[in-house]
């Protein structure tokens, strides 16, 4: 009888709070929950902020592929890296997400491309916003990758044992430029057509096989619907694929070469 009296005496918000915490405990204690969140996860029941759990957060999650459990204290200083490499990577992810969205509404043919972009902007929910984000993030990524390179140079972070990672980094810079340039043609408007004309004419002056280089890039003797298809496949598949592989090596080498470079 005493038990029921207690329940009656408790105010309603208190009782609801108790029930919510009981429900939370049940969910966190369920097999599904514990199978998803490994020991040390901050979402697990009874997570406490201890050195052991801080290690487990990294060690027992997919993040362990990217980060070691501990990093040098100066490596977390934003004033040292300005987070430029990280920002380039986030922008790449943002571009992938927005790019996939754009792919649903775009056909890479000379007859359909411009109309598809126009329709995307005028009659697709969030179409204009997502296209804007894709465009600005792309320009921003060229900038952050460039600044990241400058930062690494001025810190002398390309010196042994990091020489090869610098080489990979320069490759990634070129891949970034190529990704941006191939995307430039896709809207198939006057800006795209003539910017790419200027660019590909320049590549036609490659010594010895200039004409062949141009022919392969354009998929013909001049820019047309074949060029559009070719650059579309380069832009959405081939170049991102190569870039991801190079990024994997780049990030792995950062760790293998002893983390980010030390203070000057």
């Amino acid at each position: 009888m005493a038990k029921t009296d207690d329940e009656v005496q408790k105010p309603l918000p208190q009782r609801m709070q108790d029930q919510m915490s009981q429900l939370g405990d049940q969910i966190q204690g369920s097999q599904a929950w514990t199978s998803i969140f490994r020991p040390g996860s901050i979402f697990r029941k009874g997570y406490t902020d201890s050195p052991r759990n801080r290690s487990y957060v990294i060690m027992n999650s997919v993040l362990y592929h990217l980060h070691p459990v501990k990093v040098k204290r100066h490596a977390v200083k934003v004033s040292y890296t300005l987070c430029l490499g990280g920002l380039s990577f986030f922008l790449f992810i943002l571009l992938t997400v927005t790019g996939i969205f754009l792919m649903f509404f775009y056909r890479p043919t000379a007859a359909a491309a411009w109309d598809d972009i126009y329709t995307l902007q005028t009659s697709v929910t969030f179409g204009l916003l997502v296209r804007n984000m894709h465009r600005w993030a792309a320009h921003l990524m060229v900038l952050t990758v460039f600044l990241h390179m400058a930062r690494v140079f001025y810190h002398g972070a390309y010196k042994p044992p990091r020489e090869f990672n610098w080489v990979i980094g320069v490759m990634l810079l070129q891949l970034t430029l190529l990704l941006s340039f191939t995307g430039y043609l896709l809207p198939w408007d006057q800006l795209a057509l003539w910017a790419v004309t200027v660019g590909t004419n320049m590549m036609g002056f490659t010594p010895v096989f200039g004409d062949q280089v141009r022919f392969v890039l354009l998929g013909g003797v001049e820019i047309g619907t074949d060029t559009l298809l070719r650059w579309y496949v380069l832009h959405v598949l081939l170049l991102p694929f190569v870039a991801v592989i190079f990024m994997a090596i780049h990030f792995w080498r950062v760790r293998k070469d002893g983390g980010i470079s030390g203070p000057l």
């Binding site: 100066h74 296209r131 600005w136 060229v142 340039f181 408007d189 800006l191 010594p207 470079s261």
Partner: protein, 258 residues
């Protein structure tokens, strides 16, 4: 049993001979039990009392036979004679059961490469910063995209060349070079050489120092290189008008699309 190095064995034999000689000298006058206590008194200043007690108990258990108290106690634990029963207990001069043979400094066997570093946990110190940076860049891009639209000009038209025709901004440095050099030099040779030197930078720059004051040449060269392209890109972007002629943007207007 563990192999004893030659010089140690020699030293131990000498000590044993010396102890035997001393005992032979003392045996004529004193009883063995008194000799033992004298030995202990001598050792008391060096060895803690409880260890001496334990050693004495072990000796008593082993039969009290301490006649060959050599110094070869390299790895003999006090408990070992107890286990073997009647085995003699090796004791050094002064009742020691262990002896410091040599001190091996860590550097001579293990090659210690790295000094301990000041490290912090990735969670939360690094992940929080990264998360904030990701949020910031996403928010910035989203808000910027709400207010500024990406350009979409008229449908591509091969018969109508816009004046001026410009490449994407990051290639405008090259386009700028085109006004000065033959296309093969401007479009292929100069950027090619610049790129090769950039890739080779770590192998060309053999200076091991990272300090800015030691790298004046490398830093000035790179700064000039970066400035070279930045200035060309800016001229190509903002100071080139119809016919790619030089104009001032505040007079002729801006001929630039992102």
């Amino acid at each position: 049993m563990t192999e004893v190095p030659e010089h140690l064995r020699k030293r131990a034999e000498e000590a044993r001979a010396k102890a035997a000689a001393a005992k032979a000298g003392a045996a004529g006058s004193d009883a063995p039990s008194e000799e033992l206590s004298a030995e202990q008194q001598e050792a008391a200043s060096k060895i803690p009392a409880h260890l001496l007690e334990r050693s004495k108990a072990a000796k008593a258990k082993a039969g009290g036979d301490d006649s060959d108290g050599g110094g070869t106690a390299v790895a003999t634990a006090p408990a070992a004679p107890a286990a073997t029963g009647g085995a003699p207990l090796p004791t050094g001069p002064g009742g020691h059961t262990q002896r410091l043979l040599t001190v091996v400094k860590s550097g001579s066997i293990q090659d210690v490469k790295g000094l301990p570093q000041d490290k912090v946990h990735t969670w939360p110190h690094l992940l929080v910063v990264e998360f904030a940076a990701a949020l910031f860049i996403t928010a910035f891009t989203t808000i910027f995209s709400i207010f500024v639209n990406a350009p979409l000009l008229e449908l591509a038209n091969f018969n109508e060349t816009p004046n001026p025709s410009k490449a994407p901004w990051y290639f405008l440095g090259l386009q700028e070079l085109l006004t000065m050099f033959h296309p093969m030099v401007a479009g292929v040779t100069i950027p090619g050489i610049a790129l090769i030197i950039l890739v080779m930078a770590p192998y060309i720059d053999r200076n091991p120092s990272k300090k800015p004051e030691d790298r004046k040449f490398a830093i000035s060269l790179m700064t000039m290189h970066l400035m070279f392209w930045s200035v060309l890109v800016m001229i190509g972007s903002f100071f080139r008008g119809p016919g790619f002629n030089f104009v001032f943007p505040w007079e002729a207007g801006l001929f630039f699309e992102l």
